[in-house]
């Protein structure tokens, strides 16, 4: 029989690399830590590919369906007979697929960073944290237990925090990392409460039991209701809140654009390819639960995803920071994945959306990582993020140019690049289920093409910018990654994804739906053309348009003031209206109440000192009076 126990090495090797480089990274030359980490990621990636091969082609199938394989698990923290936090490894199509995504992108980023981060004083720290992140992300996808997911969920948040704050002397980076952590932490609160609710009703944390369509968890649920929705719906919505936080869904998306303060390879790895799709992954992981117990929750997922994708796409058109454009594009694309899950059903063909979502996750990881790495390459060359300061870069950086173009075409959904296939499946799934959502996604596809090519033209064409010193193409290690990913982004669409990853594990064959594909491609081309005319050559027309749009443009540029709202809530309400009053209350009311006891005692003491007047006769009087009082007291007692 199959033996997958080597998969244990996939995450653990990275953990040990983290510990090793973290503790001793300062002891030897920085590049050595980089190489150690890269090698271990390579080992991890190789094992992942091997595992994927074994799973998908040899051992994974049983009775024509891919099944869950519990490689191993042990009780890490036992609460009672049913509830325990287990650590272990679970293999199923999506987790194996994620293994590929994570290790591939991570490996590319590791290699890329050897060039990109060269000379950085925090080089070995950077690599240690990259290992930590990859470890946590792998742990997350391999979880056997929802609480294990939560643990690694937090850990990826931590590594994201650490990596965003890599340039910790830059106040912007510090506050961005803080913001990312706190916003996702807030979302995780929802996740946690969701888990608690879920465990209270389903009585288990175990994915095997939770997601078994015939299992007790699903059958037992939906008994209690609260505010009109069943408890399980609440639980799933709350868990989705956690996903929304991690995956930067509206309104919890605000941390992602700021997270671009981190080194660009980090953005590629964490904030484009892997961590931000953890939310999608989790919804997919709990998908049977969503489908069978709570269609409402699934609707929430779909609508939030749709709105976010539109919202972020609009903002992306207005941003002038190359990484922020990509960040909003990421948010928008994740919205796609959420929509796909939200409109999906359970089963082989019925689960088209599920498949499409995972497919898009896969392709998106490739081309978005590529985009970010290209952006990194550009920033590496000219040391700025502002696209207004770029232009005509195709002359200086040919490889970057070509790979960037491939990625743009892929994301815009131009066939035969990968994005076309996955996006098409999503739209097909949507049109079958909910036309409004389909329409939104359809429009977003056009906008996506527009803003990506706006970016492309402004950076690589446009005006002939004078640079302080001529930009140069990036070193070979970086280009290697770019090319590798470009190939992946171009070809990934040809993978027959529905043969491997489906909601219930049963493979099916998917095809292109021309009725949906053709209009979409047409719209994408329209978007590209618009961008071409507006931005190919430097002209005044974009400014005219923005001026005519006026307040709409300004508010989109300011990201619809969501940040300001948050700032208001945190600074004005939490800080000024809760915390400061609480602190004041504590110091002045509670504390003074305690001091007041002491004060009163002293006060009484001061007031009664006249009793001790020094006058002998007064003493005698008190004595006699006291005696009489005692007598009266006893008399009273005797009478009563």
């Amino acid at each position: 029989m199959e033996n997958f126990s080597y998969t244990l090495v996939i995450p653990l090797i990275l953990f040990f690399t983290f510990v090793f480089t973290g503790l001793f990274g300062g002891k030897f030359k920085p590049v050595i830590s980089g190489i150690i980490c890269t090698v271990s990621v390579f080992i991890s990636a190789a094992l992942s590919y091997f595992a994927a091969y074994q799973y998908f082609f040899i051992y994974g199938k049983a009775d024509g369906a891919y099944r869950l394989i519990n490689v191993f698990s042990f009780h890490w923290l036992r609460f009672n007979d049913n509830l325990s936090i287990d650590l272990g490894i679970l293999l199923d199509p999506i987790s194996v697929m994620m293994l590929i995504v994570i290790t591939t992108v991570s490996l590319m980023v590791h290699i890329y960073s050897l060039g990109y981060m060269k000379g950085d004083i925090g080089f070995s720290r950077y690599y240690a944290f990259l290992s930590l992140f990859t470890f946590s992300m792998l742990g997350l996808v391999l979880s056997v237990n929802i609480f294990m997911t939560y643990m690694f969920w937090e850990l990826v948040g931590l590594s994201s925090y650490l990596l965003i704050g890599h340039y910790y002397e830059k106040p912007a980076a510090v506050s961005a990392s803080k913001k990312a952590f706190i916003v996702t932490r807030f979302a995780d609160l929802g996740f946690l409460i969701g888990i608690l609710l879920l465990s209270a009703f389903a009585g288990t944390f175990d994915f095997n039991k939770l997601t078994d369509p015939n299992g007790g968890a699903i059958l037992q649920s939906a008994s209690a209701t609260f505010l009109g929705l069943s408890a399980i719906t609440w639980a799933l919505i709350l868990i989705f809140m956690g996903c929304a936080g991690k995956s930067a869904m509206f309104p919890l998306h605000i941390w992602l654009p700021d997270a671009m303060e981190g080194p660009t390879p980090v953005s590629a790895l964490i904030h484009a390819a892997t961590m931000v799709v953890a939310g999608v992954y989790l919804v997919a992981r709990l998908f049977p639960l969503y489908v069978f117990t709570s269609p409402q929750a699934l609707e929430v997922v779909a609508y939030v995803g749709a709105f976010t994708s539109l919202f972020a796409a609009i903002i992306a058109c207005t941003q002038t920071d190359i990484k922020r454009v990509l960040a909003f594009s990421t948010i928008s694309q994740i919205g796609y994945m959420m929509v796909a899950l939200g409109v999906s059903g359970y089963g082989a063909e019925e689960g088209l959306g599920f498949m499409a979502s995972m497919f898009h996750l896969f392709t998106h990881a490739m081309f978005k990582a590529l985009l970010f790495l290209c952006a990194g390459s550009i920033i590496h060359a000219i040391h700025t993020n502002e696209i207004s300061e770029m232009g005509n870069l195709r002359k200086y950086m040919p490889v970057t140019h070509i790979t960037f173009l491939i990625a743009c075409l892929a994301i815009a959904g131009v066939p035969p690049l990968s994005g076309f296939f996955s996006k098409d499946e999503i739209l097909v799934a949507a049109v079958e289920k909910n036309f409004v959502i389909f329409l939104v996604q359809y429009i977003v596809a056009g906008i996506t093409a527009f803003y990506m090519f706006r970016l492309y033209f402004m950076v690589f064409w446009s005006r002939d910018t004078k640079y302080e010193h001529d930009p140069h193409e990036s070193p070979k290690v970086m280009l290697f990654s770019l090319v590798f990913l470009a190939v992946a982004a171009a070809l990934a669409g040809f993978i027959p994804f529905s043969e491997f990853v489906t909601s219930n594990g049963v493979p099916f064959a998917s095809h292109i739906h021309l009725s949906v594909a053709l209009p979409t491609v047409a719209l994408a081309l329209a978007g590209i053309l618009t961008a071409y005319f507006l931005y190919k050559k430097e002209s005044g027309s974009p400014d005219k348009i923005t001026n005519s749009l006026g307040i709409i443009y300004r508010s989109a540029y300011r990201k619809f003031y969501i940040d300001e709202v948050y700032l208001f809530v945190t600074k004005k309400i939490i800080f000024n209206l809760i915390s400061i009053p609480v602190a004041w209350f504590d110091r002045n009311v509670v504390d003074n109440a305690m001091n007041g006891i002491a004060f009163t005692t002293n006060y009484i003491s001061e007031k009664i000192k006249v009793m001790q007047s020094g006058q002998l006769q007064q003493y005698a009087f008190v004595m006699i009076a006291g005696m009489i009082l005692i007598f009266l007291l006893t008399l009273y007692l005797i009478i009563v």
Binding site: P171, S175, R185, L189, L196, S579, D586, D591, A593, M594
Partner: protein, 499 residues
Amino acid sequence: MDLIYLILIPVITVISIVLSENRKQSRVIAAVGTGLQLLFSVYLVVLYLTERGAGNLEEMLFSHKYLWFSSLNIYFSTGVDGISVSLILLTSVILFTGVLASWDVEYLYKEFFISLIVLATGVFGFFISLDLFTMFLFYELAVIPMYLLIGIWGSGKKEYSAMKLTLMLMGASAVLLVGLLGIYSYSSPTGATPLTFNIIEISKIHIPIEAQRYFFPMVFVGFGVLGALFPFHTWSPDGHASAPTAVSMLHAGVLMKMGGYGCLRVAMFLLPDAANEMAWIFIILTSISIVYGAFGAIVQKDLKYINAYSSVSHCGLVLFAVLMINKIAMNGAVLQMISHGLMTALFFALIGMIYGRTHTRDIREMGGLMKIMPFLAVCYMIAGFASLGLPGLSGFVAEMTIFIGAFQNADLFHRGLTILACSSIVITAVYILRVVAALLLGPANRNFPGTKNDAVWNEKAVTFILILAIVGMGLAPFWLSDMILNSLNPIVQKLALLK
């Protein structure tokens, strides 16, 4: 195996310190004595586990009884279960690191170490006592040295803080004493047996509920004050802020745990009816503690105040969990005690070290310490992450156990407040990251007086031991958790039978 060594070792250490001739000698003696104590505690844990592994199902292991006052039926009776064993281990770890952290004490060094160890003796005695009398005795013994330690070696408005702390804790012990005496006076319902202070014996009888209704609040509040129960927590911020490093460590790390332990072992165990009946009142108070402490911490500017308020919040969680009356939550309570003890000790140790270099604790005056003293800064970050409940560190284990346990109670009241308590993890993140950002990150602000060197060996040892414990507990909580879970059986059974 006689637990009395846990008392004897510190006592001998104290005597040796008295006889020592100079500063070097006394601190070495202190370190050796507390180190021995630590080894002994580890040995105790090992023995305990082997004994349990061998199938010993007695409620208390290694129990001994020495007759003390026969007419009052007072024994010096000792014994440990998983809960006390783990807390003893915690205490000895923190004591040892506390001594190391005070390596450079110069002013009245002998007295300092003596007071410190006397304090710890009180704590050890408290945890091994099975008799309410000795328990109370050790409780007070642990509180009083605090006055001197803060008053003499403290900083800031130390006299005020020391007095406030001592009086509030002694006031609490006053309330507690009445409760304990109440339990004693009802400890022989039939009159056939003499009245007793022995916890195990009392747990086997049933105190009338009318009496419990009076004594439960007294005992709970009495211990609760030590566990920073709202609104009786105000001794804690001032006390922590003024105390010297090692004292803050022991105080927040260990002393406050006596409150939680007492609530669990005495209030809940011996007065179960009233505990079931009146828990809701205290659940509300502790919920307030949790959120209130966290919010209070957000705006503080003094590092120690931040931690003090954070302790209010975290210790509130302990009592909150204790009141949830189920095994998981109570397990979480004990885990939280240990976890909070370790990380808060680490925090205070680091604050002390940073203060020793910067001569300020105001976060506005510092910044970019990561650049200036990277070792301390990294350790501080780890402490912070432990505090905000990051997986892999101890805080996560404890908090999650509490939340899961608390959520097992299937009514809206408990669950609603559990959700409220959960929200503290977000607020905790806010203030921890605020401190981390302001203190460690950002451009280096070198405009503080004092030296700018990084940690020296004893400081490294302190942080290393504590972080090791935190990580150890965070990575492998199972053995600790199982040890505690089994020991909770009698308590939970007694409470649940009456529910």
